[in-house]
Subunit: 265 residues, 4 copies
């Protein structure tokens, strides 16, 4: 568990070229910092606020890009699926498949994903308590897959705001490896007229708060030009800050994982 | 808009016989009280807490039961769909098709439902503000369907609790006809070890609070034996209280819809 | 309990003349509608957002105005106290003394108020659950006063927003008579640069939702010119709408209190 | 700002002897770790859940204990005041005086505290957003005191639960030095039949999350036997874990304050 694993990349596959550029940058930085790395991108944004929002290249083209990235940079890949029929073909390419937060209770999707035998990244829904994640884990176990990762991305706090419950995230650690999605947790849902707003300026602070818990992993999305990203730019880490950001997280992770156990109960 | 329409029935189609019993009771009471009535039941509970939870008879068998109910009682039917491919076949039988709260932002499902040209009942997600429902309506409009109903069923309030924002429900009235799901709003999500708990004893009180706003409709689920219902019994109105309950709601609805307009801005 | 009692008046005693004008209007309307009436105003707004905000005439001058109003209109009076030493002198004039929400757990203030033997109106803090009100009632009981009224005025919902938990308000009914403060519950705390904002346009809707529960009382603040009120104008009912508003509430109250008991547990 | 200052001690002054024991332990550990230290205790718990709860020795006796501690251990002292008349006498002994969260908007108390010219520790109310703290700071400035510290202790999250909004805490840093009250933030308000419960077992984790932001200070309460503490034992750090706990916090603080500035806006 030392150091953390990084699930990092971009929000949606805006283009093959941009995906390669971003993957290259992550690969270079994580190699330098010696951080285990998995490339993340979405081939389809299936729940954008508006029907006009950019959705991505779709599954078939997306999988081709993932294959190219895997081959060129020798990295595993994580991506999200939205319907049961996508699970098997996606898991042929992706090493980790992700269950989206809003869909985390859809039994058919859970079962289809479990059957691929891939590692599963479960995004914790914004409307569930930590202890309720046990139900979702149990669904995967019943369907024969115990390779579960739990991913925190914030909880609803009133309208149009998320809050990260650090005690809740800590509470999930005995259930499964916990990954902190430190950029989506910056969202202000519904904060713009047709999309979510975000608190990009506080990206490092929130990530530090989470990583201070001593977590299995960190999940982030970056963009070379966040103001012009096609999705979730207000939350994206500027790509040129990646190395400085990860260096902080690695030092923090090493420090807290080196602490002696401290029982205060 | 006077009186309100009732979307009423049962949670999941436990059996054909029980569905017929319940539909008969609703039909009789709503005829007596002169309340426009639509029979509601689900053929599949696709997002239960546990993989062992009862899910229902499935789409094919469910549609047969709906056809029998429509024919026998001469009532329209509403049911929910969970995947895009279900929209068309379900809309051939159901008069109103329902978009589940957790799925309300899945663009493909929205578009598939819109294309059926059926009336759409959109369950308001527990994590959205009233003003954000405009985005979902716009998706339907873009896809060519303007027959939208918005259905309030409570908002996340901390963990394992829902609250109905009466001002928010009122705020949606200029957007579309608003229906109050007054039994699901009684839920305490995650309140039992493997399912939601509920506040059945307060069923009439919560419904009265909502109906006092002067709404287009009321949505309820009943059961002849709530303690042994296969899903959401803790929120189900006991079937033998249906008439007394609806009589209250009708009187309340008539009173508030008869009030003179009162501008306090 | 039929009809409800009205605690109505103005936010802060802006002037003797305005207080008399407002009291006269309330007296006239409540006499006409046959609603038991208690005049409400504050002599000091002790917790405004800004030190420059208008606070009122203070205790001594305020009590003189209350005496004049009591004499001239033959009405009881309710006002709030903020420090233990104010309880006794205020209770010599006021018939009901009010414990402010933010101060509801200050033991010394509770005990000083209890000892006056006045009727006590406890504003429910925005940060407490219904079941926690039992602790505050118990403090009063221990101090020898059981004449307690509980007053709902909304719960914190994220930042800068209040929500009225109708099920929670209903849950308090077995503990004590419950009064709904239907204008403060319209607040958006911190919604203006230096004060709270409010949803005055929805004043009647929110009040109707609450009164549909069948409550012991209603608490409102009015102003002849809300846009120029010195405190909480964004929540104040325009004084010229008082009669139309109360007529609605009375009809609603009569209807729901006439309902047969309906047990749905 | 390196290292952080520690406001540490006990909840309520249970006895002179226990206060001396605790102060000695803090003094010894903070000297060893070279952490600037201020002794904290309350002479009166003025807002306990029950009238039977232990309140403390009162102001006069409390101030004597503080004087003895100051003299014997050569440490400054912080304590909280609840009524305006307490501000001046308390500030003659205490170096920092604290404005309680529930009272943070009481103008008379703010002004009385400001006039003492003491350093002020403002507990952030559980019902305010970070940006609203500006109003409270402004009240102190208007009253002539700019020596303000802001102290985070969690925000209401539904009923009977607190959550620490790390982004909100970070947002307050440009306004004033920010101190994290990392033990009260463990509370589950109303979580026991007659008092608050707490998550003592997670004391170090929550503190680490907060201190990872790079804060001016840390505020904690300890007890040699938390299960038998007279107030807030469920949140108290066991006294024998103080050194190990502070060593973690100091290392973390040094690390994050040594990071290069990282602009991600």
């Amino acid at each position: 568990d030392k150091p953390f694993v990084l699930f990092g990349g971009m929000n949606v596959l805006e283009s093959r070229d941009l995906a390669l550029t971003i993957a290259e940058q992550y690969k270079e930085v994580t190699t330098k910092l010696n951080i285990p790395y998995v490339f993340k991108a979405s081939f389809d944004k299936a729940n954008r606020s508006s029907v006009h929002s950019f959705r991505g290249p779709g599954m078939d083209e997306g999988l081709k890009i993932f294959e190219e990235i895997k081959q060129q940079f020798d990295v595993p890949v994580i991506t999200d699926v939205h319907e049961p029929h996508q699970a098997a073909p996606v898991a042929e390419v992706a090493d980790v498949i992700q269950l989206p937060a809003f869909l985390a209770r859809q039994t058919d999707l859970v079962v289809a994903m479990a059957k691929t035998n891939a590692v599963i990244n479960v995004k914790k829904p914004q409307f569930l308590a930590a202890h309720e994640m046990r139900h979702i884990i149990n669904k995967f176990l019943e369907a024969g897959n115990d390779k579960i990762i739990l991913c925190e991305r914030g909880s609803c706090f009133g309208y149009n705001n998320l809050i990260v419950d650090m005690l809740g995230m800590d509470e999930m650690k005995p259930m499964a490896p916990v990954i902190f999605d430190a950029t989506h947790a910056l969202q202000r849902p519904g904060g713009r007229s047709d999309s979510a707003d975000g608190r990009r300026a506080q990206a490092a602070q929130l990530a530090r708060s989470g990583m201070a818990l001593g977590l299995a992993g960190l999940f982030i999305e970056s963009h070379p030009d966040p103001d012009n990203a096609k999705c979730d730019g207000p939350c994206a880490l500027p790509l040129d800050k990646l190395e400085a950001y990860l260096l902080q997280m690695k030092q923090l992770d090493e420090l807290v994982k080196g602490f002696e156990p401290l029982i205060t109960a």
